[in-house]
């Protein structure tokens, strides 16, 4: 079908066979936009784009699906941003976030670190929401930052008037100029356009497929909030403050790590498939279990040198393999309890730990230490 745009603006589909070429359409003149003036007196933020939809739109003039991306494009799409800061924009990638890889996380970490070294007030990373939590977690381990490194995206595409992109971006910019000093995700806190939550990069998870407030902090409250439209930032006492950390880059990752969710009836060949991996995170049931049937396969995997860490598919709460027989058998097999770490965070952390520590026992010990706010020593009861 050929898509025909009528004078009324409607599109209809017409079979190619019914179409006659009269003349080729002339490319329309690019619409003149008012130049964006950046205020030199405002703090400088770096915006690093990985291909999120935050400033993209269909562009029939060029025929490209994603338009070019520079500071002017973002500021045209989200004029509110110009009130908060001035910007340097860098387009690192234009990919959908499900196509992210550990190699891209590393490249992103280097780019963020370079901006920090340049002395920017904060860094904003625009990112697709699907795997944003993995990337934020990865950067939390790889980049030590004295300034805010804020991931932001949108759940509703930027080409709709109701998009959450403008508010999320405005709040991200406010967070990036605030007193925060860690890697965070800033997204809608509620379905209203009233506030964004600042989530710690290692304790956050996308918990809804489509809602604006899809992101939740798990196991801890958000480390801060940004009110909208006032853009007032409040940080929790636990939030790491600007300047507390010295800049640093530790960008080694061991990619041969896996994550598997146990399910009733799971066969040992699933575990066997990870033979040769340096590490495996299991998202077990409840307190951190697999079936007894799998224990020999897990034992064999560990004996072959794979580090196995247990987390829970409950997401909320801490694993404890000392309560039931199965758990004790898993511990006996050499499984390392992952505390209250989120399964995805545990995977990313494992890549980082095994990338930086060759000794099996030291690596196992690191998995049980808090390195970037990912591992709570205590379980606050939330009351």
């Amino acid at each position: 079908m050929a898509v025909v745009k009528l004078a009324s603006g409607y599109n209809i589909g017409v079979p190619h066979a019914h179409c006659t070429l009269l003349a080729k359409a002339q490319p329309a003149q690019a619409v003149h936009r008012a130049a964006i003036v950046q205020d030199k007196n405002l703090p400088e933020l770096a915006i690093i784009s990985t291909g999120g939809t935050i400033a993209s739109r269909i562009d029939y003039r060029t025929g490209a699906v994603t338009s070019q991306f520079d500071a002017e494009d973002i500021l045209t799409a989200i004029p509110d941003l110009a009130k908060v800061a001035r910007y340097r924009a860098k387009q690192l990638y234009t990919i959908l976030s499900e196509n992210m890889t550990p190699a891209i996380w590393q490249e992103l970490a280097r780019a963020v670190h370079a901006e920090i070294q340049r002395g920017v007030t904060g860094v904003i990373v625009t990112h697709g929401t699907d795997t944003m939590a993995y990337s934020a977690s990865a950067l939390s381990f790889m980049v030590k930052t004295p300034v805010p490194v804020v991931f932001v995206g949108s759940q509703r595409s930027a080409d709709r008037p109701s998009s959450d992109n403008a508010m999320n971006a405005a709040c991200a910019a406010a967070a990036a100029t605030s007193d925060l000093g860690e890697v965070a995700i800033v997204m809608h806190a509620t379905t209203n356009d009233d506030r964004c939550a600042i989530h710690r990069g290692t304790r956050v998870r996308k918990m809804h497929t489509s809602r604006r407030d899809a992101f939740s902090s798990i196991g801890i409250p958000p480390v801060g909030f940004v009110e909208y439209p006032s853009r007032a930032v409040t940080l929790s006492p636990d939030a790491i403050r600007r300047g507390e950390q010295k800049p640093g880059l530790h960008d080694k990752l061991e990619e041969r790590c896996g994550l598997v969710q146990f399910y009733p009836g799971m066969g040992e060949m699933v575990i066997d498939a990870f033979e040769g991996y340096k590490g495996l995170v299991i998202a077990g049931t409840g307190l951190g279990h697999t079936s007894t049937h799998l224990i020999p396969a897990i034992t064999a995997l560990i004996e072959s040198g794979t580090l196995v860490v247990m987390t829970s598919q409950c997401l909320n709460g801490r694993v404890c393999d000392r309560v039931y027989d199965t758990g004790r058998d898993l511990l006996k097999a050499g499984v390392v309890e992952g505390g209250d770490m989120l399964p995805e965070t545990a995977l990313v952390k494992m890549m980082w730990v095994l990338g930086n520590e060759n000794d099996y026992d030291k690596a196992a010990a690191l998995m049980q230490q808090d390195l970037a706010g990912e591992y709570n020593r205590r379980s606050g009861h939330g009351l």
Binding site: M1, V3, L6, A7, S8, G9, Y10, N11, I12, G13, V14, P15, H18, A28, A30, V31, R57, I58, D59, Y60, R61, R156, S157, A158, D159, R160, P161, S162, S163, A166, M167, T190, T191, N192, D193, D194, T209, S210, R211, R212, P229
Partner: protein
């Protein structure tokens, strides 16, 4: 008015809600709710976005003049799609079928493949900031020789509760938008065409009924005037009046333009002055609390700003509508001053300060902020300049009575954007050929009325009334159930009308099949038909049907009735002997009083006659 001479051209857009089970892009029911039942609320801001071509629609731009926060009511019958928190479901295929049926009824040609578009509307009535719409068919015929240009399948917008609060129950109900060519030349033409289209739509039996379920937009222009779109005329009877008033408005605006030209009037942006200080001590509450008051002097405009252009509306009202887009309550102009707490003295001072002559008009805009006052006075300039060229192209909303007020500029094609979340739908020959066209309501009414006259001996007028009744299916069902046709028809048509006028919820009674039960009781001799109205009213007030019959028309069986009749005949043996057959009439009254209306008079008369004959035969 001679509309031909005026060069009146009108076209209409009819929006009719379809009676489908589910909404157009989600699986929620299409039921309207009482706003008091809302289960929650949330709020959002909307922003104008660029079109595919990189433009911002001028109508959307206008709505963006002020930051608006929109509040939405949710219900247990709405979902995340209405909340703009979930991508749309595939287009409701039942709604498409219905739309194709309507298209075929108008002899239209379907599009080979339907593409859902986003029509940018950022007045808050759509949580997404756009209305999803798809062009389904082209080129239909109207009996007046005009054409129906297009039929579109759209989602209904959210209902405004108040100001910037909207209710999501209505959002997403499927509706068809039928657009005619500008083929009408008098207000009456417009009424007729709208009525015809409405009839065709109702012929499907699948459109929603009641106030607000059908709305007409009218496009009107006169020679040398401009196309003006008037939105949301809900009552068919007002349509002609709206058209007539718009023709009048355009004629008067053209006359004003000619006078302005003759007077050498002009609009000069350099004649804006800050007059805040002149009103420090004013008695006008609005001016006193204003942070800034801006004034513009319009040379040559005196007398014309205050001139009426349609009932209740002046050029000043038009200017005021534009200023209101900045959030101000309105404007003041010297054609209407002194008034509203502004004294003659203050008027003189303002005119002096602005160096306004006798033929000049000064307009004041008071803002809660300097920015607001400046925005408003700039809007005044925009509209005043338009007065020099005649009639501006606009989208307007109807006011009570049929006059109109400015809403926004006419939207352009820039407001259309492809809905990337909905997959295009193929309408192939096979599907189109399978669409069956229902009988037109007018034809059906004639046919059924003729049948009623022939089969049941109804008079022609009553037969037509019954045939056009919305309750025809109930009547037909009652007749099929063995109820006397006259009883069934008159009860359902007349009693229903009577009770509805008294404010009784007749639909609820019908939905519980009270009509059938009552008719059955009458037929079985359990109650007299004289008691029907009262029994209906009692049931509506919450009493059970059985109790209502017992109370208003206690059950008297045929056997009971025979006993009563025999007893009365025995008691009045002397009277019977004296009057013979003539006793029937007076005794009828006695029996009816005894059974208190619980038995049909016909049955009483029949039994009384039989028993009387028995007595008289015996006596012989």
């Amino acid at each position: 008015m001679d509309y031909k001479q005026l060069g009146l051209l009108a076209g209409i857009e009819i929006h009719q809600q379809l009676d489908t089970r589910e909404k157009l892009f989600c699986h929620c029911a299409t039921t309207l709710r009482d706003t008091a039942e809302h289960s929650g609320e949330f709020f959002r801001y909307l922003r104008a976005t660029e079109s595919e071509m990189g433009e911002i629609d001028r109508a959307a731009q206008e709505e963006m003049k002020r930051d608006r926060k929109f509040v939405y009511y949710t219900y247990d019958t709405t979902c995340l799609v209405e909340n703009d928190e979930e991508p749309p479901a595939p287009l409701n295929d039942d709604a498409l079928s219905l739309c194709l049926t309507i298209a075929k009824m108008f002899g239209m040609a379907p599009v080979p493949q339907l593409h859902t578009m986003r029509k940018l509307v950022i007045d808050g009535s759509n949580t997404s900031g756009f209305q999803r719409t798809a062009l389904v068919a082209f080129n239909g015929k109207l009996p007046n020789g005009g054409t129906i240009e297009t039929i579109c399948l759209e989602e209904e917008a959210a209902q405004r509760v108040k100001d910037d609060i909207f209710s999501l129950d209505r959002l997403g109900i499927p509706l068809v938008e039928i657009t005619t060519s500008p083929c009408m030349h008098t207000p009456e033409d417009v009424h007729e065409v709208a009525e015809y289209i409405g009839m065709v739509l109702r012929s499907t039996g699948r459109v929603k009924r009641g106030i607000g379920t059908i709305r007409q937009d009218v496009n009107i222009s006169i020679a040398k005037g401009a196309r003006v779109e008037i939105k949301g005329v809900q009552e068919l009877d007002l349509l002609a009046e709206v058209v007539a008033r718009e023709a009048l408005r355009q004629k008067n605006l053209l006359a004003i333009r000619d006078e302005l030209m003759a007077k050498g009037a002009s609009v000069d942006e350099n004649r804006i002055l800050d007059v805040t200080d002149l009103f420090r001590e004013t008695k006008s509450a609005i001016l006193k609390k204003a942070k800034k008051i801006s004034a513009i002097t319009l040379p040559g405009f005196a007398g014309l700003v205050g001139r009426e252009i349609q009932p209740g509306r002046r050029l000043g009202s038009e200017i005021s509508d534009y200023a209101k887009k900045c959030g101000v309550g309105g404007i003041f102009h010297t054609d209407e001053l002194p008034a509203y707490g502004v004294t003659a003295d203050e008027v003189i001072r303002v005119k002096e300060f602005c160096k306004a002559g006798a033929s000049d008009c000064v307009i004041l805009a008071a803002g809660a902020s300097a920015k607001q006052a400046e925005c408003a006075i700039r809007q005044v300039i925009v509209r005043a300049k338009m007065a020099l060229t005649g009639v501006p192209e606009e989208t307007r909303k109807m006011l009570e009575g049929g006059s109109t007020a400015y809403m926004r500029p006419l939207p352009g094609a820039a407001r259309m954007y492809p809905e990337t979340d909905v997959i295009p739908v193929l309408i192939d020959e096979q599907r189109w050929n399978a669409v069956t066209v229902p009988e037109l309501l007018t034809v059906k009414i004639q046919r059924i009325a003729a049948k009623f006259v022939a089969d049941y001996g109804f008079n022609a007028a009553f037969a037509t009334q019954v045939a056009s009744s919305e309750h025809l299916p109930r009547i037909e069902r009652a007749i099929a159930d063995g109820i006397n046709p006259d009883l069934a028809a008159s009860t359902i048509v007349r009693v229903a009308t009577e009770l509805r006028r008294e404010g009784i919820d007749i639909e609820r009674l019908f939905s519980q099949n009270t009509d059938l039960s009552v008719l059955r009781a009458v037929t079985d001799g359990k109650m007299a038909k004289e008691a029907i109205r009262d029994v209906f009213a009692s049931v509506a007030s919450g009493i059970s049907l059985e109790d209502a019959i017992k109370k208003l028309a206690p059950a008297v069986s045929r056997a009971d009735l025979e006993t009563i009749v025999r007893k009365i005949l025995a008691e009045r043996a002397e009277f019977v002997a004296q009057k013979q057959k003539a006793a029937l009439g007076p005794l009828m009254g006695v029996v009816m009083a005894e059974v208190r209306g619980s038995v049909d008079g016909k049955v009483v008369s029949e039994i009384l006659k039989k028993e009387l004959e028995k007595v008289l035969t015996k006596a012989k």
